[in-house]
Symmetry: C2
Subunit: 192 residues, 2 copies
DNA sequence: TTAAAACGGTGACCTATGTCCTCGTTTTGC
DNA sequence: GCAAAACGAGGACATAGGTCACCGTTTTAA
């Protein structure tokens, strides 16, 4: 499963064959079954996680036990709780697998060492974080100014394919609308 | 007005007296009257802005002309449109002054040069960006899971003092609630 | 100093969306 | 292969919060 990561990091961060070995040296590979968890609220998020295959989700629960999904992480994407990971604080998030998945992950100590050795990796990472911030802001604006239907349409456009891979109520949870509303919207659209 | 910045940067990023001069060399100081603008949508955001005094806001308009405030920037805080600033793309945001204000600002070219010369500045900046991301995520979660009243209470707690400095409809716009709803909430609370 | 604009409050009404429930179908895990 | 769980659809109903309209007060700018 390291192979997928290798392709990714060479293509995106300009890492050479030799340099890939540095990643391999400290990588932890892990296979997950559906519902297997990588992080539970209250724990410290010890790893930076790259998804080689499958699909993870990050969610958070309200006091009354409602789950809200903040992020889907399909193959070729990263996930972690940056706050917990960076500061070794306990996390309020949960990360688990929605499909059988394969991940590669590193501890902060090991990944920081990679940053030291590979400045271009640090630059690439900074870039990802920045982009993440833009998108999160955008999403917030969109959430505040759109109807449930616009949110749904936008989701389908922005994350093509995810819709087909996860149950409806999870998309609802991601968008912050009720399952029922989403179900109705979708059926109104069958024949517009 | 550079004095306020000097205090701030020494205290927060561990910059020495000598190093402060590097900042001064390329800083652009500017006084703003109420309603003066630093960025209009469609323009490129050329500056990283530090607010020495006063209060700025960042807002965005929907297609039907509705204004949504994304951020208040009081004294001792930074603002810019990072996306536009970093990539020289046109911005969808507007930044203007809600009070007579004083700012110090740098072009990307000049500020990047500071990063080169002062690694600790880069580290501090990375930190701010990370924190910004945590908080934006948090705010999004909160927005999705809270009632208008909870949003208002949270705002008052999170941004003490801002409430007293801006008109009600701007807080409403920040929270994504109508002015009327906020007005009612607030009056219900006079005698709880 | 004064006219115009901005602001906050409030009533009346409307509607998008949430909540609760039931039912048939599909998926899953043993 | 089968029992149990998860899922999607849809009806009935409730409601938070939006929209519109009006008014008196305060602030602003010329």
């Amino acid at each position: 499963m390291f192979a997928e990561f290798e392709n990714y990091i060479k293509a995106h961060a300009g890492v050479t064959n030799d340099e890939v070995e540095l990643f391999r040296a400290t990588a932890i590979e892990k296979s997950l079954r559906r519902k297997d968890s990588l992080l539970n609220q209250g724990e410290i998020c010890r790893y930076k996680i790259f998804v080689c295959k499958g699909l993870l989700r990050t969610y958070r629960t309200t006091e009354n036990g409602n789950e809200h999904i903040l992020q889907f992480s399909p193959e070729n994407s990263w996930t972690t709780d940056p706050e917990s990971y960076n500061n070794l604080t306990t996390s309020v998030y949960n990360i688990d697998a929605l499909e059988p998945s394969e991940v590669v992950m590193w501890t902060k100590k090991d990944f920081d060492a990679l940053f030291e050795q590979l400045p271009k990796l640090k630059a690439y990472s900074d870039n990802l974080i920045q982009r993440n911030l833009y998108r999160t802001r955008d999403r917030m604006f969109f959430n505040q100014t759109s109807t449930a239907e616009e949110k749904y349409d936008n989701f389908v456009k922005t994350f093509p394919g995810i819709m087909a891979r996860v149950p409806l109520h999870m998309v609802a949870s991601f968008l912050g609308v009720s399952r029922e509303t989403l179900s109705r919207i979708r059926h109104t659209q069958v024949r517009p």
